[in-house]
Amino acid sequence: MNSCGTHDGANVNEPEAQLIPRCRAGDAAAQRELYASHARRVAAYFLRSGFAPADADDLVQETFTRVFRSLGTYDPARGAFGAWLATIARNVARRRWGRRPEPDSFDPELAGDVLVAPGNPHAEAAGREEIDALRDCISRLPEEIARIVHLRYVQGRTTRGVAAAAGIPEATVRLRLADAHGRLERCLRDKGVLE
């Protein structure tokens, strides 16, 4: 993102480049805007990492506390703010990694996807129209298969985690994911997204 977020009535148009100096100067309003623009993404990262919702809230607070205390060390020339924030969030998560209630149920690689800043390979590969087409295809999936897809790709669960959440065997999870892939592939071909 190159602008502040849209949450909590924050100024959506003020460029992040202007917010950061204000945050450094101790402007509480600017800090709230910067927080509102990134907090959901960071919270999603902690949830997809397997932390409990209450713990995820605490970790978000801790992450932004560190961000604002260390904002003086952030150098825009060395990378985007989102990447810098992602590094701090990963460090915060790493220190609490052992406290996750179901460590084997969540895929760390998928969890990291949500922190990927704009311009990353996934985002480049997946254009807006393609994602909208995929969303439409997913909405046409049978409910039990759509749920498996949601548990896997939105919640970022491992096959074991999906099986535990859905109450079905892991083999069934794999079969349903394979079925989902086949259906989505056909649907996206029909839409011209896949050749």
Partner: protein
């Protein structure tokens, strides 16, 4: 649109992951509003932050007081044109000096304030460091607890091992006792083996003696059987001889007669009873006299017997009592104690009675 058209699965996977990340961010519950941390702040920073506004206010108050004092002194000391155009009194050299002094003090205050800001900026990194230190401390406490638990487990295991060692030592003591007993038994074994060999030798000797005795017994039995056979053979020869003598004797004493009648005739013709009465028997032995008395009765009955009756021979044989009287006569003859006339009479009586006891 598609960088790798030949890898549809990878393409779809990337799309799903991008969609999932977007959905996750979109559907994530909005976190609570950001609350700058107050608790956990380092004590030095807390003190600085607590007194910083007061210090700044004090500096500003000093500066304001200095300006105010300079304003009060200006009418008395005159004014300097151009310095305070708003005042009616011109500034003096003293005012300039005071103003310069105040400006210097203000610069010093600003420098001190900037220095404090710089130090504050320097301290800004402390919370993060302290948080890290607290986390390290927590980790160390956790490790210490784990080590304490391990120590307790190791102490308990040590106690268990000590108990097991004591039990093993007890068993070892028992085994050593058994080993000594076995050694003693092993020492006794050669003696026992020697005694056993001796007993076995004696048993073998006894067995040989038994075998020899058995063979001797068998030999004796065989000899007895042979002797018995010889005796039977001699007895048969004796009986045959006696039968031949009897036939000759009866043919001479009772010619033309046979059986009981011939015996009865022979008693009469040979005057057996008369000759017995004529023989002196006082000098004979007691057994011989008893045989002679018995024969007197038998021969008298034979002489009186009606030989024509059908049961005459049976009744006479019953009187003789089988062959008993024959053996008594033989004993008296064999003993050699009888006189020659008695011996002759006994022999003739024996010939007359031979075979009569088994008649009927």
């Amino acid at each position: 649109m598609n960088d790798e058209p030949n890898n549809t699965n990878e393409r779809l996977e990337r799309l799903l992951r991008a969609w999932g990340a977007e959905e996750a961010e979109r559907t994530a519950q909005a976190p609570a509003a950001f609350a700058p941390p107050s608790a956990g702040r380092p004590r030095a920073l807390t003190i600085v932050l607590r007194w910083l506004p007061a210090a700044a206010a004090a500096v500003l108050l000093v500066a304001a007081a200095a300006f105010y004092r300079a304003g009060l002194q200006a009418p008395r000391e005159g004014t300097t044109a151009g310095l305070r155009p708003s005042t009616s009194r011109p500034t003096t050299a003293a005012d300039d000096a005071e103003l310069r002094r105040l400006r210097r003090e203000l610069d010093v205050a600003r420098t001190q304030l900037a220095e404090r800001d710089r130090r504050l900026d320097g301290l800004a990194g402390l919370p993060g460091q302290l948080t890290d230190l607290q986390e390290q401390l927590q980790r160390h406490e956790g490790e210490a607890k784990k080590l304490q638990a391990d120590l307790r487990a190791a102490t308990k295991a040590k106690g268990d091992m000590a108990n097991q060692l004591a039990a093993a030592e007890t068993r070892l003591t028992v085994l050593e006792g058994e080993k000594k007993a076995l050694a003693a038994t092993a020492a006794e074994l050669p003696k026992a083996q020697s005694r056993l060999a001796d007993v076995q030798d004696r048993l073998a000797a006894a067995a040989r003696e038994v075998e020899a005795a058995r063979k001797r017994d068998e030999q004796v039995v065989a000899e007895l059987a042979a002797a018995r056979q010889e005796a039977q053979r001699l007895a048969a020869r004796h009986e045959a001889a006696m039968a031949a003598f009897q036939r000759t004797y009866l043919a001479m004493a009772a010619p033309g007669e046979g059986g009981l009648a011939a015996r009865k005739t022979a008693v009469k013709s040979r005057r057996m009873l008369e000759r017995l009465a004529e023989m002196p028997t006082d000098a004979e032995s007691e057994p011989t006299r008893r045989v002679l008395a018995r024969l007197e009765v038998v021969l008298t009955r034979l002489e009186l017997l009606d030989a024509g009756r059908a049961d005459a021979e049976g009744a006479f044989a019953k009187l003789l009592g089988g062959g008993e009287l024959d053996r008594q006569i033989d004993d008296a003859l064999v003993s050699g104690g009888a006189s020659p006339p008695v011996r002759t009479w006994l022999f003739e009586a024996r010939l007359i009675l031979t075979g009569a006891g088994h008649a009927g």
